[in-house]
Subunit: 287 residues, 4 copies
Amino acid sequence: MMNHSEGRTGPNHAKVMGSFKGHALPGTFFFIMALWWSTKSILKYIFRKQKRTCPGSKALFRRAEILEGIVSVCMPPGMAGEQFIPGGPYWSLYKEGRWNQILGWHHFTMYLFFGLVGVSNILCFTINSLPVSLPKLMMSNALFVEAFIFYNHTHGREMLDIFVHQLLFLAVLLAAIVAFMEFLTRNNVLVELLRSSLILLQGTWFWQLGFVLYPLGGHPSWDLTDHENALFLTMCFCWHYLLALTIIGMNYAFITWFVKSRLKRLCPSEVGLLKNVEREQESEEEM
Amino acid sequence: MMNHSEGRTGPNHAKVMGSFKGHALPGTFFFIMALWWSTKSILKYIFRKQKRTCPGSKALFRRAEILEGIVSVCMPPGMAGEQFIPGGPYWSLYKEGRWNQILGWHHFTMYLFFGLVGVSNILCFTINSLPVSLPKLMMSNALFVEAFIFYNHTHGREMLDIFVHQLLFLAVLLAAIVAFMEFLTRNNVLVELLRSSLILLQGTWFWQLGFVLYPLGGHPSWDLTDHENALFLTMCFCWHYLLALTIIGMNYAFITWFVKSRLKRLCPSEVGLLKNVEREQESEEEM
Amino acid sequence: MMNHSEGRTGPNHAKVMGSFKGHALPGTFFFIMALWWSTKSILKYIFRKQKRTCPGSKALFRRAEILEGIVSVCMPPGMAGEQFIPGGPYWSLYKEGRWNQILGWHHFTMYLFFGLVGVSNILCFTINSLPVSLPKLMMSNALFVEAFIFYNHTHGREMLDIFVHQLLFLAVLLAAIVAFMEFLTRNNVLVELLRSSLILLQGTWFWQLGFVLYPLGGHPSWDLTDHENALFLTMCFCWHYLLALTIIGMNYAFITWFVKSRLKRLCPSEVGLLKNVEREQESEEEM
Amino acid sequence: MMNHSEGRTGPNHAKVMGSFKGHALPGTFFFIMALWWSTKSILKYIFRKQKRTCPGSKALFRRAEILEGIVSVCMPPGMAGEQFIPGGPYWSLYKEGRWNQILGWHHFTMYLFFGLVGVSNILCFTINSLPVSLPKLMMSNALFVEAFIFYNHTHGREMLDIFVHQLLFLAVLLAAIVAFMEFLTRNNVLVELLRSSLILLQGTWFWQLGFVLYPLGGHPSWDLTDHENALFLTMCFCWHYLLALTIIGMNYAFITWFVKSRLKRLCPSEVGLLKNVEREQESEEEM
């Protein structure tokens, strides 16, 4: 463990990703995207259950997908601004006989694959000849690549630094596997919400990483070699997941209430009737 | 291996979970729940096979589910009483510059997720707009979290202590995977019984853990560094599983006999006829 | 690696399982069973494809299943004769302050689970109320237990001894996973034949184990610490698998030819017609 | 790490596979095959979507499959020419008291299983009684065997040499798993293209291996013990995958354009109409 300082790519790295802000930024991105994805899944589920769509809702969904695609495509280059901040790699990969800020390039590669998800989203909802489940496959792909890179990201660091990145790896890998299941079994709302909650977990865990590795002024820094801290963070990870589940659950409750109260004004009797029939069939199936 | 005593969170821990009783309690809980779940699965299967339900059986099932939910919700706080017994953490997580009884908090976190299963059970069978397979997903979730925590639970202990916890981890992980399959493929009675038997295994293995780590007065204590003991416990784990399968099988035989004898009095000819027709179709399918 | 001799359960063990015969016996058992299972799968597939069964073939299959069950139940106790040969454990598990021949007891436990497959086979084809896919689940179970025990079986032995057991573990684990798939997706002949070929591989690999660990008189013994031997056995394992695939393929060709030539005499035109129709549909589906 | 030179099978090995050419050859083979497979999948998908096949296209596909089989069968023996080049094993497996060029024999074994895929391809499209998904199972098998051999291929080499082979192992294993999924879930074009792109990745990665381990004259050689290089190659692997996805995507665009422009001349109105109907149904399903 004596060579942990050599494992990092020099002091420059610390300025960019190796900071609280560098972890809070992707954390916030994943948090917002997970909320948006869960909202989309829940709305689709509710409309599907009532076996009718509001007039125009379909075109609305298509436009939302394209908008999501554009945001996904624009976000990564924005983040790739990391390339140009003072101390960034400035697109030079090999400098002075050694690799230049290889960990910064790792982050860039991850953003690239999330950008690809955006591209596939746009293509799939503008061009007709593409299979509709392509964006889900690309999402799973992007998560697998992210998991792969994080797995090979932490050579030679301190025990606790490696441990929190391993937990991040676990969250990303599980999200990737669930996203692949989503690709295979279409239209299962719970699988979609599970994926959203795992990405939410990833988002909040990025924040936790920031707090652990770069404690804000005033807070004492964590002892990165104390195994007690690893035991605490194990539990902390579960609490983050509990938080993610709670947020998704509250989102579900809110949207259901919102749609019901809004639709009731338009067509009160029909909706209730349809829901009961649907429910009856489902529990029939279950029994 | 010299630092195994430092790995524990001080002598206080031993008073709570680190005792025979602390392992026998959750063991008994899982044993009873597994019996109840297997009974429920078998009854549902028999009723489904006869393609009719006794009048009122459906309402009965729903009430049973809600009762199960209430028990699941109440049980964890009861167990969380561990917080308040002499030497417990009393809700303080950080004390005197170090984490306070972090392993006790681990147990508390596990109970929390099983409590969540109970909550989802109650919500799902009282509110109509929730997907009916939600409790199964939450069950799988709770088991995955339990497996995750047990995996990171035993740092710095003796070889045999780690080994028996690894076997526990294996049983919990397999139960979690099978529960997830149950969530994906609804109404396969054998998958449900497999999950029940793995949870039964977990229950009896908790007892075994108690006997190995905290031998009762009179019995000689186990040598925690002898690998021969690990070889014996490997085999012992299989025997526990055999016992679990036998118990589930006897439960199946008993319930089938009970339902048949009770229904025969009510409608003897019809039942036999229906069963044969059903059987014929199934083996048709098989051939 | 100095303690490899202590890892074994004393010299007595060598007399029983630790011999060429002790490996050849289960190898032959698995070889014969795999041939029988593949024959059964191929016959069922051919009959299913022609969408008719010879009169009486169904009763024949049922009787064959029960016979298979009886053989499976009888075989293990026969092998458990290992308990009573000179130097065997004679049912005593704990003797003179230490575990008595724990590795012999491991083998006994494996046989027990394969016996259980036989019991479930008999029960399932005599009693009507059991789900028909129960024996497949029990088969998968027995293979998982076997894999689990082999994984924990080789503590403290030589490198090559561990390596060949790891390959055995791999073959058994894959067979267990494929058997579980067979349980979930019924009536896929290729999955069934894949499982048979993996069990055939297990059978021939048992023989290879015998040759490597207990070379017959005249042959030079293997250097158990030379990694070159591990590289050779890696390749050898693939050749065994190739052999298994070839045997299953030849069995398929022989049975198809046999059924065709025998049925042609009875009803020549009908069979050919039906086969073509079936084939047409399948390739339609494929295209 | 001192014994890494003994781990290799002597200096002779370097002449055959241990060269740039020895890696470029299989790389090119996999690259071409992946392009061909993706083309086949895309064509089948387009024809299936339009719910009609050009007259004669079916016979064409069948002939293409048989041709592919013949190429697959011929290619490996061609490559097995490795046996007869100066310094090759010349079919002698054991020479002068040690294994003769065991790594060369490893390669031979891999080619053997790919040859088997070709054999099953030919058999399946000439003989009628075989299940049509047999070649897909054999393809998955061949990839699993390749992954297994690569996993046990690199004992005692340098860190970076092992690392790049591990990445190769990862690509092959993922391709094997996806090919198995393709076998289970027929006619999902995205799964087929995913498999093609993973095999394309394998092809280009073979080239990368050649460049890293046997740098061409003029280029400086890589430091095989520097972990920075491993971090770069991690990222490089993702770029290769990105390249593979791009190539497959461009192939998709080109074939769609080609088929559309060519069919438009023959039957312009019908095609467009059918496509829209199809699309409508699919997105209906999706919503």
